[in-house]
Symmetry: C2
Subunit: 197 residues, 2 copies
Amino acid sequence: MTNPVSQAPLVPDTRTRILDLAEVLLLERGFNAFSYQHLAKELGVKPAAIHYHYPSKDDLGTALVARQLRRLRKWRDLPRVTDLKPEAQFEALLAVYDNHLGHERRVCLFGALAADFRTLPPAMQAELRTFNRELTEWLAQVLAVGRATGGLRFVGSPAAKAAQVLTTLAGALQVARVHDETPFQVIVGQLRLELLA
Amino acid sequence: MTNPVSQAPLVPDTRTRILDLAEVLLLERGFNAFSYQHLAKELGVKPAAIHYHYPSKDDLGTALVARQLRRLRKWRDLPRVTDLKPEAQFEALLAVYDNHLGHERRVCLFGALAADFRTLPPAMQAELRTFNRELTEWLAQVLAVGRATGGLRFVGSPAAKAAQVLTTLAGALQVARVHDETPFQVIVGQLRLELLA
DNA sequence: TGAAAAACTTACTATTTAGTAAGTAAGTGG
DNA sequence: CCACTTACTTACTAAATAGTAAGTTTTTCA
C-alpha cells in the first residue's frame, strides 16, 4: 500500500477530487447545471482528464450516487451509530442534515436529484432508488424500536412515519436553499416536538 | 373583447401555449433540462418565435412563476375555497397535490425549482420566494382556525406546522417521481392521520 | 533500468445552446 | 386603404456542450 497509515490521504488523487467536486456542484447547483468544463477548470486539469476517469457524465453521476450509497451503509453500520438508543440515532440523522445546512446550505442527494430524475441515466436512477429505500428502511427500524422502548412517539406504521420524516427533511433543506436557515430549524423543531416523547 | 363569452379559448394563443408547455416541461424534467428548441419543435414554430414572446429564458421562467403566483392568489380567494371549513380547506390543498400526481407525477413548482435555485435568474428567485411565503401563510391561517374550531389537531405553532406540512407535500411528489405513487399515498395518509381530529 | 501501464494533454468533432438582426405576412384601426 | 403593429420566419453568431483520437509525460514495478 502506498500509505499504510491513513485511509484518507491529505491530497486525494484526481479521480477522487473529481468526484468530490462533482458532489459539491451537484448538491449546490443541480446535476444539469455543471459541465466537464466547470469541473476541469476548477481542478486545474483538462476536460479530457475527466473523461479519462469517467468516460461520460452518466458514469460520473452513477459513481456519485454509488459512493453515497456506500457511505450510507458504512455510517448506518458504524458501532457509534448502532450502539445508540433509537432517539439518539434519530438525533444522529438530524445532525447529518444539519451538517448539509452548515455547508453552504447543500441539499441532500435525494433532494438534488428528484426533480431532474427523468433526465438521469437509468443506472443513476436505480442507485438513487436503492439509496432512498435503504435509508427509509433503516429509519423505519429505528422508529419501530424507539416506540417500543418508549423513547419515540408517533401514530401509524413505522414505515409510513419514516417515509414522511425523510421526505420532510429532504424538503426542509430545499426550503433553506430558497429562503434561509430559519424555516429548516423551524421544521426540524416541529419534528422533534412531535417525535421525542 | 375578442371573445365575450369564454375566458379560456379552445385554442390559446402562442404566447400562452409556450407558457403552458414550458410549465409541463419544467414540472416533468426541470428548468435546466429543456431548451427553446424543445419548445419550438413541439409547438410547431421556430425558436425565434419563442424569443419574440419571451426574449430570454429568464423572462420565460419568471413569467412561469409569476403566473403560478397569480393562480395561487386566485384559488385561495375563491368563494368555494374560502367558504370551506379549515379541515376541508386542507383537503382541498391535498387535492391539488393529488392532481399533480395524476398528471404524469409532476412535482410542484417549488419542488421543481428548489434544487436548481442558485442557477435561476434573480427575478425568478424572488417570485418563488413570494409564492412559497404566501402559500405557507395561507396554510398557517387555515391550521390556526382549524385547531381553534376543533377540526384539526397538532402541537406547536400554526406557522411551524404549515411549513412542515407544505415541505412534506413537496417532497412527497418528488418521492413519487423517484419511486411510484405508493409512497406519496403513504405520506399523505400519515399527514391525515395526524392532523384530522 | 527499462517496459508497460496509468494519467494525463492537445487537438479535434458534431451538436446544442441562447440570442440577434433583418425581413415578411397578416391583421388592425384611423 | 394605408400606416402601423403584431407575430412570426429565415439566417446567422458565438459560446458551450459531451465526447474522441492520438500523442506525451509520469509512475510503477519486475
